[in-house]
């Protein structure tokens, strides 16, 4: 037998390597479809499993993204604005033609664990499978039971509006290789069971980081800036780590109160996208919310002695503030609006949070403050929750700007906001 030369052995090695790479790439890109199955009957699922799925779905906030404003529940069609274009949520009711009625449990499992649809298509990470991958098999089972027993709705979601090349789903293979750590949550044995439950929920199902962590230019959460703050629909999602801007530091007790009841006297009420999250959480088990609060309080970290002293001094100052403004020098325009429109509710020991204790006026952007004043805070029809009237009719844009500038300088120690007029115009134009 003739021995092969070094050159031809090298060529063979390179060719084999190339073949392996191509095979692996093809396998990654072209995922096998799961066959359609008969839509399971409700009786196929244990009632307790469906209930468990309902509670998990409340924490996962499925309904908020998968329901269009004024649309049928879970029938999709809600637009998510991204830097790459608009993505529309899909119909996840058990309708066979337009929803997931033909999906087997395995197909559902793969979607949650790896972000691949039934037909093998790559799903955009606007669907936060990079978080849902942390779910246990049992919880995915419960979510399947819940989702497949909802009311089927025939509604095809609008086509995504993504710029080239982001409309090429196969490119997500690269994104997933870089940014998806698939697999269920692994408990930290050095921490309590409650902490681990909280971590499992926060990092997985509740996907808090999707809004509260900044993203890089590929739209992935920055792993070196976990919970460093982000945006949702142009609202500011404040930092939930050591950079938390809260004037009085969050602890587990206050976080649990806020998430469970939708109001905390030292921090205020959630508004914008967070209001929907907290409304859904009112259906979750209180022990789970407490666990999430315990974990998040640990992420935020206990305050330094200096920060605690500053916060205590602030609370004392707020609680001893005179109930009427000093009128001798006259009131500025912003002060007039504050005392005439806001003080009735927002002065200490009244209904609303005192401005000095609300993060809203300490954020880098005036967006949240402006948006809350314009929209007000309204619970969904028939549900309990904090109420704040909208001031868009009573106050002109210029008057809202005066108010917000006054509040920033009187109730925070941060520098003046630079772009208030631009921001209010953006909000009023619906630029979101």
């Amino acid at each position: 037998m003739r021995r092969r030369s070094l050159g031809s052995r090298l060529l063979l090695g390179v060719l084999l390597t190339l073949i392996v790479i191509v095979v692996v790439a093809v396998a990654l890109v072209f995922r096998l479809p799961y066959s359609e199955v008969a839509t399971p009957e409700r009786t196929a699922f244990d009632a307790a499993l469906i209930n468990k799925g309902a509670q998990l779905s409340a924490i996962g906030n499925c309904e908020t993204c998968h329901t269009a404003p004024g649309g049928a529940r879970l029938a999709g069609g809600r637009a998510v604005d991204t830097p790459f274009g608009k993505i529309y949520s899909t119909n996840i009711t058990p309708d066979r033609a337009t929803g997931i009625g033909a999906w087997s449990e395995e197909a559902f499992h793969r979607a949650m664990r790896e972000g691949i649809g039934r037909s093998g298509q790559h799903l955009y990470p606007a669907f936060p499978y990079d978080h849902f991958t942390k779910l246990t098999d049992d919880d995915i089972k419960a979510l399947y039971a819940y989702t497949m027993t909802r009311t089927p709705v025939k509604a095809a979601a609008p086509k995504n509006d993504l710029k080239f090349p982001y409309d090429i789903r196969e490119l997500l293979v690269g994104w997933n290789l870089l940014y998806l750590n698939s697999g269920a949550y692994q408990p930290d044995s050095s921490k309590s069971a409650e902490w681990n439950r909280g971590a499992y929920l926060v990092e997985g199902l509740a996907h808090c980081g999707s809004c509260h962590t900044p993203r890089n230019s590929f739209g992935a959460e920055k792993s070196d800036a976990k919970f460093g703050g982000g945006t949702a629909d142009n609202w500011t999602a404040p930092a939930l780590n050591a950079s938390s801007p809260a004037p009085t530091p969050w602890d587990a007790e206050h976080l649990a109160t806020y998430l469970q009841t939708g109001f905390d006297g030292r921090h205020g009420a959630p508004a914008g996208p967070m209001a929907e999250v907290v409304h859904n959480l009112s259906r979750a088990a209180p022990a789970d919310i407490k666990a999430m609060a315990v974990y998040l309080a640990d992420v935020i970290g206990p305050p330094s002695a200096e920060r605690k002293a500053k916060a205590d001094a602030l609370v004392a100052k707020v609680e001893s503030a005179p109930p009427e403004p000093a009128r001798d020098a006259g009131l500025s325009k912003g002060a007039v609006v504050y005392w005439g429109a806001c003080a009735q509710c927002h002065e200490p020991s009244r209904l609303g949070v005192p401005f000095a204790l609300s993060s809203t006026f300490s954020l880098a952007s005036p967006h949240n403050a402006l948006h809350i004043i314009i929209d007000g805070i309204h619970p969904p029809a028939g549900e309990a929750g904090p109420i704040m009237p909208s001031f868009a009719g009573a106050l002109t844009d210029a008057q809202i700007v005066d108010l917000v500038k006054y509040a920033r300088s009187s109730f925070s120690d941060k520098p003046a906001w630079a772009n208030v007029e631009d921001e209010i115009r953006r909000i009023k134009n619906g630029d979101k």
Partner: protein, 169 residues
């Protein structure tokens, strides 16, 4: 001095600039239709219209209203010459104790100035901020519906009708 325009009439008031409009209407201008229900923008009894928008007069400092048009129930018509909204509320008997009624009427007026044919769902959603403890909500809904059609057919005042009836005979 603060200059206001209320129901088309110029007024000059000498009050602190952060005084809520409700107090000026009742104490200084004797326009007592708007009522104090909560002082917190949570009940709607104080609702008036400013530049076409329904606002809570208990939470609106008068100084922000200079140069803007304020309308109260007194501007919708009078006892002898009620406007279509007032006629509708009277015909549907949409009042029990009457405390919420002025606020209800102003919010309804704001709706009908924006939408001439609101659906029942539109009316119910728009009127949501106004509370009624006596339970007249259904009659208020009927009254707003009737007011919409009255405004469209321009049967604005019963005072006009006797003349028309006389002419028809």
């Amino acid at each position: 001095m603060i200059k206001l325009s209320v129901n088309g009439k110029a007024q000059e008031i000498d009050v602190d600039p952060d005084t809520p409009l409700l107090y000026v209407l009742r104490d200084d201008l004797q326009l007592n239709a708007a009522k104090f229900g909560c002082g917190l923008g949570q009940c709607g009894a104080c609702t008036v219209i400013v530049d076409g928008e329904a606002v809570f007069s208990c939470l609106t400092p008068v100084s922000v209203l200079e140069g803007r048009e304020i309308k109260t129930v007194e501007g919708l018509g009078s006892e002898t010459d009620p406007g279509p909204l007032q006629r509708a509320f009277m015909e549907e008997q949409a009042a029990q104790c009457g405390y919420c009624t002025a606020g209800m009427m102003m919010r309804a007026q704001a709706l009908l100035q924006k939408t001439t044919s609101p659906s029942d769902a539109d009316i119910i959603a728009f009127m949501e901020p106004n509370l009624c403890r006596c339970g007249t909500q259904h009659r208020v809904l009927n009254a707003v519906r009737k007011a919409a059609s009255l405004m469209k057919t321009a049967q604005a005042s019963p005072a006009k009708q006797p003349a028309a009836q006389g002419a028809a005979q």
